[in-house]
Symmetry: C2
Subunit: 370 residues, 2 copies
């Protein structure tokens, strides 16, 4: 089958890597000539934001999917009308691309998400009391396009642009759950992972899976995933990012309509990985078993501050000596501060052992330049 | 690093698949334009048996390795003299390519291997009593080039060619052990696997790992792997195929200087796979942990008798529904009777459960043509 992917980054690369177990032809579209997928797929250099480029790329494929949500969804809608299968459907991509539509989608489907107002270019009408979160309607990614406005002083930083003004949640834990639905309507949910964020880079730092949660919290999450999977009316794999607040209530922060950083530890920690599941979704195959077989955790390898240029992974040989430790690099030759260059998955018998190992491994490696 | 592989078949494909976790450039050489590696590596169509072709292919690589042993070893020796690293060294490849040299190597290093004579083109001098095994000196592969001569009548089938005449072992079990050695001299051994052969196709049918063996047998195998790893004086990953005879004595049948069908279940059954280990050997990195984490088994997907043409995997969707079951196809579009098209790995809590699952899965799938 000819499978086209909009985006040629690490998520696409790991999807193709997993899917090499099967016999498909992968095509990728990315503006960067050295994108991580360029040498393991039939590669087209071009913009996944451009209507004509996406249309041309997609028209001779059996199915088109995405590994980034900032794509031209109108072109995907046109491909659908021409009979090309698009996973997930252009409608749900459009909804998720725009934070305002995304919030309205949660509200319409009774999915708990923090209280919000819409700001359409003017700050005059904001009724939300401080502190609050401002999320740009479009273009946010990896924590960009999101800011916390805490004080009257902060108000001068407010972006004067279409955005969501959202009540600030008093966060106890950040959680994520990856869900999948195929065209036949079959659904599967991965065990919940906990994300420990690095406040400086606002990229994930550690993922931990599974997480011990009370029955009540599990039920809230089950209710959210069930409502979400019923509401989307589309095949797809989605990462639902959750806040657990200090009163034990679960809120949806946002959803990614694609493979997600918070699912990377599934590569060695679960019976099947998110990449295997995504492949099955794309091909409408029976969905894979998602059981956690052990405690697993992930740490991102991001470019260190102060280093740009040809990447060097300092300390990597020492990491290779550790059992139950798996390095995944993304085939990027150039590092810069904060760039996601790879990740390391770690397995352990308990959460305590896992945290110890993750902290140790994090201390052993540094992503620098030649 | 620029890594060149002679051969572009499934072993190379699975090596590259695993190594996509790291940042290297893979180059493959294969006569078939649609070889399994052709679209996931920088591919050169050409003969790995041709001196000039191999020399040209290898001269600008940092390291050259093999995924098939029938390559031009003289060209590899020349590459070594030009400073290109070759893994494993051309010397050990030459030794293994020729069954006569291979047998003499075992003898010289006190590695138990069935008693033998050399036949150099004439049958007159054979002293070995019937029944015996004849192994062609060169060109054997997947059971080809090997025959059992049981009776005086069979003698008329004797190949009149340089060959090894070997005492027939009264086999209780066929075992295999995959060993690795890096340039630094570090060595690691995978747990022993048992191979259950299909007498008709002479391709492996099931692999089972680990195998419960008596302390005495374990010691014999440890002694063999230790002697072998000391004798080779080369980095490499090797599959040592063993016979356990009915008196409890272990004999080396033959050795493959490369990744091997008998190690495929390590993809999900072991802490790291043979492909990960091979990558580390090629790059002289610390060797990976080889522990079996569960019972694992493998069955080959070979083209069914009577079907040639565009491949169809009958029953595959049903297999995808099974937990702890992993399909690996090789990206070959055309099937023919007996062709290795893929394999399926199965995990289980016990040997009994594993055998039941393998037999069930084998009954569910058939490799046919459109």
């Amino acid at each position: 089958m000819k499978i086209g992917i909009l985006g040629g980054g690490q998520l696409g690369r790991m999807l193709i890597q997993e899917a090499l177990k099967y016999d498909d032809e992968f095509y990728t579209l990315d503006p960067a000539s050295d994108a991580p997928c360029h040498n393991i797929s039939y590669f087209t250099q071009g913009s996944f934001n451009d209507y004509e480029t996406v249309l041309n790329f997609g028209k001779d494929k059996d199915v088109v999917t995405i590994e980034i949500e900032h794509v031209n969804a109108d072109a995907l809608a046109e491909l659908e009308s021409q009979g090309v299968k698009v996973v997930p459907n252009s409608n749900i991509i459009k909804t998720i691309q725009q934070k305002i539509l995304q919030k309205q989608f949660y509200k319409a489907h009774d999915i708990p998400s923090p209280e919000f107002e819409i700001m359409d270019g003017s700050s005059d009408e904001i009724k939300m009391p401080l502190p609050f979160v401002q999320k740009m309607n479009t273009g946010g990614y990896d924590g960009k396009g999101v800011q916390v406005i805490r004080t009257a002083e902060d108000m001068k930083n407010l972006w004067i642009a279409d955005s969501v003004i959202e009540k600030l949640v008093d966060i106890d834990k950040e959680l994520s759950v990856i869900v999948a639905r195929n065209e036949n309507g079959e659904t599967k949910t991965f065990p919940v992972t906990e994300m420990v964020a690095d406040p400086k880079l606002n990229l994930l730092d550690f993922n931990i899976c599974p997480v011990a949660l009370s029955e009540d919290i599990e039920e809230q999450i089950d209710s959210i995933t069930e409502k979400f999977l019923n509401a989307i009316n589309s095949p797809g794999l989605f990462a639902i990012e959750l806040f657990l607040d200090k009163e034990g209530k679960v809120w949806v922060n946002e959803t990614a309509p694609r493979l997600h950083n918070s699912g990377h530890q599934s590569q060695e920690g679960n019976a099947n990985s998110q990449f295997e599941q995504m492949y099955r979704v794309v091909k409408n195959l029976p969905l894979a078993d998602t059981d956690a077989i052990i405690y697993s955790g992930m740490l991102n390898l991001v470019g260190a501050e102060g280093y740009s240029g040809k990447v060097v992974y300092e300390g990597m040989e020492d990491v290779l000596r550790l059992p139950e430790t798996y390095i995944h690099l993304y085939g990027k030759t150039e590092t810069k501060p904060g760039r996601k260059m790879g990740h390391i998955n770690v397995l352990a018998e308990s959460r305590e052992e896992l945290m110890e190992k993750l902290v140790m491994v994090k201390g052993m490696v540094r992503v620098i330049a030649e």
